[in-house]
Amino acid sequence: MTVPVVAALRDRCASVPPSLLLSALLLVAAVVWPWHAWQARVQRVRMPVGRTESVITTQGTFSARLPAGLKVAAGGTVTEAVGLLVVEGVATRDGTSTHTPVRVHAVDDLFWTFHARDREAPGAGTAVITEAAARALGAQAGERLRLSLSVPSDVPQQSALAAGLRAQPIDVRIAAVRAPGPGDSVTVEVEPDEPRIVYVSLAWMQRQLELAGRINTVLLRFSADARHDDGGPPADEVILRAWLAAAALPDHGVRIRRVPGDNVMALDALGGVFDPALATRVMTALSRAGRPAVPALSSVGVTLRAGDRVVAASTITAIDPDAYLALSLPSGPARPGDGSAGTDDALLRSALQVNVGRRGVRVGRVQVTDLTPARPSQRAPRPRTSGARVPATPAPDGAVWLNEWAAADLQVSTGDQVQMSWPVWQDEGGLTRRHGTFDVAGTVPMMRIGGDRSLLPDLPVLSAVDSPRAWPAAWRDPDAPIRPDDEAYWRQWNTAPRVLLPLERGQQLLSASPGALSSIRFALGDADLVAAAVRDAVTARVRLRHPALDASARLRADLIGLLRTSAPVWMLALLLVAWLGLALRRPGATQARRAAIFSMNGLTRREIADDRLRRARIPVALASVAATAIGAAARLWAARTLDGLDALVLAAAAVLSGSVLWLVVRAEARLAATSGEPPLAFGVAHARDNRRDRHTRTTRGLRAGVVGALVVTCAWAVWPLTRGVLSESIAADRPVLLRVDVPRAVVLTPSSRDARAALGLDEHPPWERAMVASVRIREASVPVFSVPASLATALDLNELPAEAVRAWPTRWRRLLGVPAPAQPRSLDPRDAEALVATAGSVPAAAAVLPPGLLVTETIFARAFPLHEGPRYWCIVAPRADADTIAAALRDRLGAHGVVTRPPQALPEGWRVR
């Protein structure tokens, strides 16, 4: 029974035209291949997450005891919690220039227990790396790696303090390479590619990074009862509440202490600068309670000059003297300069006292007169006193107070001028030194604030060194060598600031962001109030993520994207099948019969083939036009635009598809002409010509060869196209590129040098630029929406290529050698037509917009090179947070009168590199 069935099938298959076979293969490939890609994607996304349900991270560090405390505080909600250090960095294979970005997981046995994996915790100085990392590096077990790491720190990356915190490279030996199989490589992030991870010992890495007892990531698993109805983790509020209950103040990046020698408390930022939201919350809480508070900002690396005398490696503190005096000194009027000023308090008051109404030196918001002769310390040289006098020409940069030691060292007294240089973070990255000339408004005795070594953060690299010579080079002034006197001061007073200045002016000079604070002093009884305010504000410091949910959401989005992006391929396959129904609706026997009739009437094979081709012309043309139209529609649907290059690509695709179809038809026609079976046509079913059989076998072989060649050709043509589509889908899952329509808005960033120059902002420090730009734009009736330098700096814009591309055109541009289209003139902020009707700035944008978000005109210009309509803000945001960020941005823009339309996620084909 089997033989006739097989024979029948064979006969049927023999009559299948090659184009039908080709179309069927293409259709199958269009379904099977995305499915295969999808399965691989599922493996790649879901498996590395392991058993982690939620992750708590911070830009600083937590106590290593926090996970255990969190389990207790959660009261059974959290069943497992494990801490680790996750550090971004670059790994370089020893002895080569091969390097790759990696994520270092410093873990202990608990980490592997958490994930129910074999315990392979590497020992000191060794590492286990994932196969993806090994492949990227070309490394194998036994070789050595050099890790250059971005050390987790409470110190903001864009600050003068952070500039000195560059970790030394760490060398490790590869103990093993983990296979990429399910569960073998565990990471804390959902990554689009195979994770490149270097696992090292937690304790060893903590020692290497001088972060003993600190972690920066906590992995959580929850009890079944606590999980959400859909199996997901509990609500964020529940987790954060438990975290708040378990976390100590240092876990929030701050500490409260009593200031030695002073009758006040201090809230210090462990990283040197408070989070703006936290500082605002604390100041507001104290203000509402009617309690005094003294904000301060300190920095390092100050050099003082007076004539030929130089004081190097000083620290500096900006403080509000009025508030400080009100907080720390007994109330009551002071009589500076009188004979009763023999106490320390009186000396301090007289040095900083406000005394309005008398002729004096302008110091920020206060007038300082009746200058007090400084009382020399026991060890410091007595400064030269000059009595009360006023300089003929006030210094352009304001006035400062010096402590007695500095004044004596410089041999200056009140009313003299000093030159000062100090490091600040610059927009372009790194530190630059600023210079200024200041009046000496007074000398502060070496007590309390005059000798307070706790005003600066307690960073080992800053305060635990034997000499300022050991400071990082970024903090030192190359033109001011450190003298023995400086080292002597260091030994006695350590980081006590030698220079003081008013807070507002200090923030202008020292900080890239207005309102920055490093310490808040408050009264002894207000510690609980401050701690409560801190706890209210700290949720912004931690980030809570749910990798498993992220993976599921990402996979859902991927599937949709996969279906959307592979739709053109399916359409093309379906089109071919439909074309077959139109043009090749006659089965093979009919083709052979027609050929037999023609042959019987004396037509040659060429004439028969020509007849077939003639009849196929219109269907082929229609098919090509239809394919082009479908391709154009798909492109328009995906990219919202069609440019000249798209038209070129589509035309080329039309020609290609038409040519392929024509070749198929031609091959079929020739085969039909040569395989026409006159005996069959004449009804002689049994007659089989031996020679014709051989001929038939030959033609069948030829047909198979033609089909194979066509399949290979089409696969070659279609593969990069579809691969591009799918890789876009996969690449696009990292960020979502939103666009928020901002009618006629121009976005300035510090990277927009031309725009900055056009508005004359270069002469202003970064912190002023937003305000100055706003004022100038308003004056000139050319409002511009600006982004404060602090935001741009925080986002590290200057480190990014800031290039958004459409991958398809770029791919084809490269292939065709077509240059990218030039940016339209309207993108130039100096172009009046492009300027806008609204003004404003985003002073608190940094609080609204989380790290990783990108706002830049350059991206817009690259992404929409031909766009001449309304302007957009393009935001690269994590997919999960996209809606939140977009809503926050719209609210923020709305507060400044900018009318926006709802954000719109750009299609998958768009990517930011």
Binding site: A596, M600, G602, E607, P678, F682, G683, V684, A687, R688
Partner: protein, 223 residues
């Protein structure tokens, strides 16, 4: 005009070789008519295909107007066939997508006839009183008309040989007479040799001679 000398043909079949023709020799002069009568599967169609150059013999030459078809390749035989041979069969073998006129003109200038070919075809159809169906499709015609159109197509180039392979099969007696009359008129018009392959001797009554094909050999018809 048609000469076969000791022509043989063998087919391989699943049940063994079949030799419908064994060393057959015959000769038909221009204007002469020969009928070959045989039972079904006796080899009549094979003989017709060999004579038309649609099959190549295993042995022996097939000469049409002095040209040995067995020595030519497929395209050369097609050209000879187009120029000198007209073939009609019991199945009309009309191209269903072409009109009657286009079918008739097929040997003249292919599936897209030129004006001269069309004029020639129209004249022939008019002579056969078929001009009213020249724009119809074959499927719209009655069986006799389809056979007549096929006959017109075979004779339109004034061939030197007409091969009629059981062309009367399926027709009513009066239709057979009508169709035979037309065949004879056209054969007379072109002066072609006529090879009629018949199921019964009556079908070849109009021919000059009647032969029988039995066991692969030609013999004199014995009534």
């Amino acid at each position: 005009m048609l000469t076969l000398r000791a022509v043989s043909k063998t087919f391989a079949t699943p049940t063994g070789d079949v030799a419908p023709l064994r060393s057959i020799s015959l000769e038909i002069a221009a204007g002469a008519r020969l009928a070959v009568v045989g039972a079904p599967a006796s080899g009549k169609t094979t003989l017709g295909l060999l004579a038309a150059g649609l099959l190549v013999p295993d042995a022996g030459p097939v000469l049409v107007d002095g040209c040995d078809l067995s020595a030519l390749d497929t395209d050369e035989r097609a050209r000879v066939r187009r120029r000198n041979i007209g073939v009609v069969t019991d199945a009309p073998l009309l191209c269903p997508t072409l009109t009657v006129l286009d079918n008739v003109c097929l040997p003249l200038s292919g599936p897209v006839p030129d004006l001269e070919a069309r004029d020639q075809g129209r004249a022939l159809l008019a002579a056969l009183s078929l001009d009213h169906v020249q724009d119809a499709r074959p499927s719209q015609l009655a069986l006799l008309d389809q056979r007549l159109v096929a006959l017109a197509r075979a004779a339109v180039r004034l061939p030197r040989l007409i091969v009629a392979d059981t062309a009367l099969r399926g027709l009513a007696p009066d239709e057979q007479r009508s169709w035979t009359d037309v065949l004879l008129r056209l054969q007379h018009r072109s002066g072609a040799a006529l090879l009629m392959l018949c199921d019964t001797p009556a079908e070849g009554a109009a021919c000059d001679a009647v032969l029988a094909l039995r066991d692969g050999e030609l013999t004199e018809w014995v009534r």
